[in-house]
């Protein structure tokens, strides 16, 4: 059981990694600041480094949402197993749909479901749930979006150049923001590594303590840290290209100055929240920033129906993961056979979703379609830009024609 939980926890870490690549790397990929492959490699390395930098392990897996210990429910490896199962499956579903959603909320949902089955509704601390999950989910995108909106306005206002005599627009020369994007997105990736790998380390340590193979109150062992860091880095490198597509081009069109503003807001929101004790979800902050920066730049539209879809996904995260967690907990209760059935069914579901995803492949080559065109026009003069644009248009047209001919690839 312990080995099974550890394996599942590492897999959860992996899904967490590839789910959240988009948070840091979607906007620089969309503006052509970094090539897609390089971007995910950079994010993977920074996640690895980040995981080693900070080993502040959460003492309670659920952060107090479930009443642990006396008067509540005893957190056993079985409950953690069920919770992880819910979280992993929900992560796979949202990845398939290309929706950015919070991995920690999925984990909370799964654990809540498992705890309810184990000890009834009284085991859930609803006040803590409201304070730690529901309100942050509302405020994270608002705070980050507001900051990104203001920053985008600032960036464009400060770099707008007009001829003093004629008042006509000069070349704006905002290419420098591309370089800046590399640094800001790196900061986001590093912050993610310091935050998210810790969750899995905490879970594995807790399981080891519960199984009696580690002294209570001690920190994570070196192999646990290494394994978690590796899992999150490999996951990041695998790249959730579907989510990158949503964040990079599905919400709004991203330009370098705008991307820079969005990433800066994301990074400051994560740093501020993790430092001042009001935890916000990385994913929700990043999505809010992209939306806010889209509202801040003139001439862009935010695709609100996509925003609605994402919001709906967030709404379902807790209950959906909770239901899977509860079902798994029920199965696990029946004994060793139940555990086996749950493990096999879980793996089968993951495999099914993986093969289903193969039907419409989204990889580094087509995650964000404007990327090649964006690199071609880098620092080019206006005429060349117009030419490149016409070319890109033709290319896009040819692509859509090709897509129309093969209806299988038409679905996104």
């Amino acid at each position: 059981m312990v080995a099974l939980v550890i394996a599942l926890a590492l897999f959860f870490d992996f899904t967490n990694g590839f789910h959240d690549t988009a948070n840091a790397m979607a906007t620089p990929i969309a503006t052509g600041a970094i090539k897609p492959r390089t971007a995910v490699a950079l994010a993977a390395v920074l996640n690895l480094v980040g995981a080693f930098l900070s080993t502040e392990v959460a003492k309670t897996v659920s952060g107090g949402i479930i009443r642990e210990g006396s008067g509540g429910v005893q957190i056993t490896p079985e409950i953690i197993f069920a919770g992880l199962m819910g979280a992993v499956l929900w992560n796979m579903v949202t990845w398939l749909k290309g929706l950015p959603s919070s991995s920690s909320h999925a984990l909370f949902g799964g654990l809540i479901g498992a705890a309810v089955v184990g000890a009834g509704f009284s085991s859930v601390n609803f006040e803590s749930l409201l304070q730690k999950v529901i309100l942050p989910a509302v405020f994270a995108p608002v705070i980050a979006g507001l900051a990104a909106y203001v920053c985008t306005r600032l960036a464009y206002a400060l770099t707008a150049r007009h001829d003093p005599e004629t008042g006509s627009k000069l070349t704006q020369k905002r290419g420098g923001f591309r370089t800046g994007q590399i640094f800001t997105s790196s900061l986001v990736a590093l912050a993610h590594g310091t935050n998210d790998a810790q969750k899995t380390m905490g879970i594995i340590t807790l399981v080891l303590i519960a199984a009696g193979s580690q002294a209570p109150g001690s920190g994570p062992q070196l192999w646990v840290i290494t394994a978690c860091a590796m899992a999150i880095a490999i996951g990041t490198y695998a790249g959730g290209w579907r989510i990158i597509r949503t964040m990079g081009s599905g919400l709004t069109e991203v330009k370098p100055a705008q991307g820079f503003a969005a990433e800066t807001s994301t990074a400051s929101a994560i740093l501020a929240s993790s430092h001042l004790g009001f935890a916000l979800s990385t994913t929700q902050v990043a999505s809010g920033s992209v939306i806010g920066s889209g509202m801040g730049r003139r001439g862009t539209t935010v695709r609100w129906n996509m925003v609605g879809k994402i919001a709906l996904g967030w709404l379902f995260t807790l209950p959906a993961a909770g239901i899977v967690g509860a079902l798994t907990a029920l199965l696990v209760k029946t004994g060793a056979v139940g555990v086996l059935i749950a493990a096999v069914a879980g793996s089968a579901a993951v495999l099914f979703m993986f093969f289903y995803s193969r039907k419409s492949d989204v990889g580094h080559q087509n995650a964000v379609e404007v990327e090649e065109a964006g690199q071609a026009v880098r620092f080019a003069k206006k005429k060349a830009m117009a030419r490149a644009r016409a070319k890109a248009k033709e290319q896009a047209k040819a692509e859509t024609d090709a897509a129309a001919n093969t209806p299988k690839e038409n679905q996104r």
């Binding site: 309100l135 400060l158 150049r161 905002r174 100055a257 400051s268 009001f278």
Partner: protein, 73 residues
């Protein structure tokens, strides 16, 4: 309810992001001006740009200093 903490986080986010973006934007702008033809003193403007980028980098490094527990403990 931790409304105060929420407000602090919102304020800090807004201020720190605005500072970084302002500095970097000024840097970008001064680089652009320095590269313009017929500039009386491109050297000064270029150095101002570098100062802006430098300050921006310092702000980011301070952020790193905050998230790495090794330094703050």
């Amino acid at each position: 309810m931790k409304w105060l903490e929420l407000l602090t986080v919102a304020g800090t986010t807004l201020i720190s992001a605005a500072v970084v973006v302002t500095l970097y934007s000024l840097g970008v702008r001064f680089t652009a001006i320095a590269a313009d033809a017929q500039q009386p003193s491109p050297g000064i403007k270029r150095s101002v740009a570098y100062v802006c980028f430098g300050l921006c980098g310092a702000a980011v490094l301070f952020g790193l200093y905050l998230i790495i527990p090794y330094f703050t403990k």
